[in-house]
Amino acid sequence: MEEDELIQRAKEGDLDCFNQLVERYQREVYSLSLRMLGNASAAEDATQDAFFSAFRGIGKFRGGSFRAWLFRIAANACRDQLRSLRRRPTTSIDSVPLELESDQPSPEDFAMRRELGEEIKRALAALPPDQRLAVILRDIEGLDYEEISQVTGSSLGTVKSRINRGRARLRHHLERHRELFP
């Protein structure tokens, strides 16, 4: 079934159709949450909260990019989780490794990629949340500037500036581990 039809039926209260949308997007939403929060259980909570809010609020979806609309809800859920993580910082340990795709996997390559993944995780965690969100949406989730502007509710200029500053910081952080780059 086409996405538009699923959305229409979900708006009419068809839970099965909504759950098909969940199946389509849960990987992206969970990945976004995990990269934003750096904590697997908080990412799980944020993802579940996001889909639950989306189901309750789907009547308010007025067309356009459903993905951007969903990501906006997920970004808000992440913001709530970040707030509660700040209140109990001891639980903010993430055992899920950040994996990098590779064309020719070999055992030595694997160890290197693992290390690089850890560095990227650290570098992302060190970014201010607004910049982190913008960079994740652009470079990991692959959204264009217009969609990011919809997700974050910010102007295109703000989006540009956040991506610019976020990437510059990441570059600065990763430069120190230049030997890990391919």
Binding site: R27, E44, I140, N164, L170
Partner: protein, 172 residues
Amino acid sequence: MLSPYIDGQLGPSDREGMEGHLEGCQACRRELESLRATVNLLHRVAMVSPPRSFAIAKAAPKPLPAAVWSFGVLRVATAIAALLLVFVFAGDATHLFEGGLIEERAAQQGTLMDGEDGEVSDKGGTPAGGEEYVWPVSELELALLGVVVVLGGATAVLWQIRRRGGERALGG
């Protein structure tokens, strides 16, 4: 400017300007190269498969109506007790309860409150020769504080239970 340049976000004139500058500036070329490497690295970050399905359960068990009811009542009761406490505190601070005369009790209370007469005067009350009824303000405050703590605690416990129930319902 390098970041929007990589993403093709610059207008034709800005892009040309940038390319002209890059030709003559080795430092910027190096920075561009390193920024590109960073961006390419981020492009390789893999999506993560979620540990479970986030589909919403059809028969999501609703929180028990009784729990909802008692949660609502507890919340309101806590709020009322807290408001009362604030009111009594504020009254205490503004000497609202001092000088409030209840003639018929004055005789009984007079002897008991003798020791506190001086204190009342200090707070700016208007003692009429020990004839006034002094409200047991601090006792009232303590009692209300106790009530607020107990009600608040019960509300928090119930909220946690509801939250877990909600999570289970969402868990599918």
